[in-house]
């Protein structure tokens, strides 16, 4: 029985391969790419459990079990980076997440189509600028001696503030400039949701004498609530992912205590410090948490919206 099924499988497989060889030819480079560049590194993840030496290679390095994880959890710097990641994400959730929603609601209330298009064109722009430029602008603006911000503070008799070297300023600067860069562009998703709201709702509300303020609160906002919830779930799913490429540009040793996140910790211990095995263990720890969060987020959104994210 088993053999019959297997031989049937092999025969139809042969037929399908012969019939669709062109399609397999088309898909092959892409599948090979995913195997070589994304799946092969997963094989390299085993060095999180090995005493890895770059000369011995991945296979020949001896197993050490959970030693690297024990070392990590005893490492104050790693623990600090983990809590910094969560804290920065959470602050982003509180301060940055609502901004694109508010922006979309505000755009929707602008009646002059030309003004609205111009305003949108301008606030989307920073999304297309590299983080290096954004960091350059931030460093330039916040320079204690020549920066425009401290110059302006000087007009009010305030002494220069060393924004980039004082730990308590790192998070406000990071989140503030992230809002500047991304909030405008993120409003697109909400604007699309608003565009889907039925105009009849507004017409009947107007007949009932509702003010514009009331319509925003009672019609627009409730109608886009499903979108807001989905975006919130995605955001929570990405709780352990922060914009480390940007953090690397902005932080410095004097602000590590509030700025160092898991990814920057991995970068310093692994790529700059060549402790590959320890850094891989930290990465694996982060990736597993991320996977669980994203998976849970997806399950929840499937329940909430009946459409899954993936």
């Amino acid at each position: 029985m088993m053999q019959v099924r297997l031989s049937h499988y092999m025969r139809t497989l042969g037929e399908d391969l012969r019939r669709d060889w062109q399609l397999y030819l088309l898909v092959a480079p892409m599948i090979i790419w995913f195997l070589v560049f994304l799946y092969k590194p997963m094989h390299g993840l085993q060095i999180a459990f090995k005493d890895f030496s770059i000369f011995r290679g991945i296979e020949a390095s001896p197993w050490v079990g959970l030693a690297h994880f024990q070392e990590l959890f005893a490492n104050e710097l790693f623990i600090r980076s983990f809590w910094n990641t969560i804290t920065i994400s959470f602050l982003g959730l509180v301060f940055a997440f609502p901004v694109p929603i508010i922006l979309a609601l505000m755009f929707n209330e602008v009646q002059n189509a030309l003004a609205r298009r111009w305003a949108q064109t301008i606030v989307y722009l920073p999304h297309f600028i590299s983080v290096v430029i954004v960091a350059g602008i931030v460093i330039n603006f916040l320079s204690p001696s020549t920066g425009i911000v401290n110059t302006a503070l000087g007009w009010f008799g305030i002494a220069p503030i060393y924004f980039l070297t004082q730990p308590e300023w790192f998070r406000p600067v990071f989140i503030g400039s992230s809002i500047w860069k991304e909030a405008g562009f993120e409003s697109i998703v909400y604007l699309a949701a608003i565009a889907g709201v039925s105009p009849t709702l507004y017409e009947s509300a107007r007949v009932d004498g509702a003010s514009r303020w009331q319509m925003v609160w009672r019609i627009t906002l409730p109608c886009i609530l499903p979108t807001i919830i989905i975006m919130l779930i995605i955001r929570i799913g990405n709780l352990v992912e922060v914009g480390f490429e940007y953090i690397i540009l902005l932080y410095r040793p004097s602000t590590y205590q509030t700025a160092d996140v898991v990814s920057t910790f991995i970068y310093r211990t692994g790529l700059q410090g060549t402790q590959y095995d320890l850094a891989t263990a930290a990465g694996l720890f982060n990736a597993v948490i991320a996977f669980v969060l994203v998976y849970t987020a997806n399950r929840i959104s499937r329940k909430v919206s009946s459409t899954s994210l993936w």
Partner: protein, 293 residues
């Protein structure tokens, strides 16, 4: 009856307040760009002493002359063009045919391939294993490594595949009647019909290539190979105005601040040129990609 007659005084105040607050946000988005532009064409002395607030002071192109005479600026600019166009071409060459094949329902193993690609959205090996893999492949310090190593991502594949799946069956059947092969079908029917999706993905690739710095910084060693963003990072972030190099720049005509401003402007200009297209297609792409699977 015009709509404005329907509004009460409260509604009008609401409208003005909204326009005012939104205007403030728009201006604060715009201000850094204007400031950087003004600083780049002002004299070094005016910028360092805080006299440049909005408009240029002591108009001069000295900073640009200094930047444009720097050999590394041109090398890195050229490299960025190579990575942007080479990388985008490579991405399309691999992902367009691949996504097309995956959109064909009769392809055996389709579910498995789809799952394999979607899984990378959920889980990836991370920075160090990726780096070691590039090293094992001999792709450290290699232009080709930068171009091939970041050619695909699951999001773009899914976006393209969904678009191909939405192409009406009637087009395909008509072409099949004429005896078209799968390759001809892709080339003559699907690619022309899916131009918006392909342009969207191309623009995603162009923008991320132009702006990417992290992996170029990590993987490339040779000065001759670094892209503009890495060069920018070295000047803007790694140096600061107290450095020796920076103070050597200090003259009355240009300063560290005006030089960095000029480099930033030079790097933003190409972005501004493709921005009108990018804006249009990106908003569509975001919404297309939002509905996955």
């Amino acid at each position: 009856m015009s709509t404005s007659n329907l509004y009460t005084r409260g509604d009008k105040i609401f409208g003005y307040a909204n326009a005012f607050l939104l205007g403030l946000f728009v201006l604060s988005t715009l201000y850094p760009f204007i400031y950087i532009l003004s600083a780049s064409v002002s004299s070094g002395a005016a910028v360092t002493s805080g006299r440049v607030v909005l408009w240029p002071v002591d108009l001069t192109l000295a900073a640009y002359e200094r930047v444009l005479s720097d050999r590394m600026f041109w090398i890195s600019y050229g490299n960025t063009f190579i990575y942007t166009f080479g990388g985008t071409a490579m991405s399309l060459l691999i992902m367009v045919p691949g996504a097309y094949a995956l959109s064909r329902k009769r392809l055996r193993g389709r579910t498995f391939f789809n799952l394999m690609i979607a899984f990378t959205l959920w889980f990836n090996a991370g920075m160090i294993p990726f780096f070691l893999n590039m090293r094992d492949l001999g792709l450290l310090d290699s232009r080709f490594g930068i171009i091939i190593g970041f050619a695909c991502n699951a999001f773009n594949v899914i976006l393209l595949r969904n678009f191909f799946e939405a192409v009406p069956k009637s087009f395909e059947e008509a072409a099949k009647m004429d005896g078209a092969s799968e390759l001809q079908l892709l080339w003559k029917v699907f690619i022309p019909l899916s131009k918006p999706a392909i342009v969207t993905v191309a623009l995603f690739c162009i923008v991320s290539r132009w702006n990417g710095y992290f992996w170029s910084m990590v993987l490339l060693r040779g000065e001759e190979k670094i892209p503009l963003q890495v060069y920018l990072k070295r000047i803007i972030v790694d140096l600061n105005s107290n450095d020796e190099f920076a103070s050597s720049l200090l003259t009355a005509q240009y300063s560290f601040e005006t030089i960095t401003a000029a480099i930033m402007v030079a790097s933003i200009i190409p972005v501004l040129i493709i921005y009108p297209y990018a804006q249009k297609y990106f908003s569509k792409g975001i919404l297309l990609g939002g509905v996955k699977e």
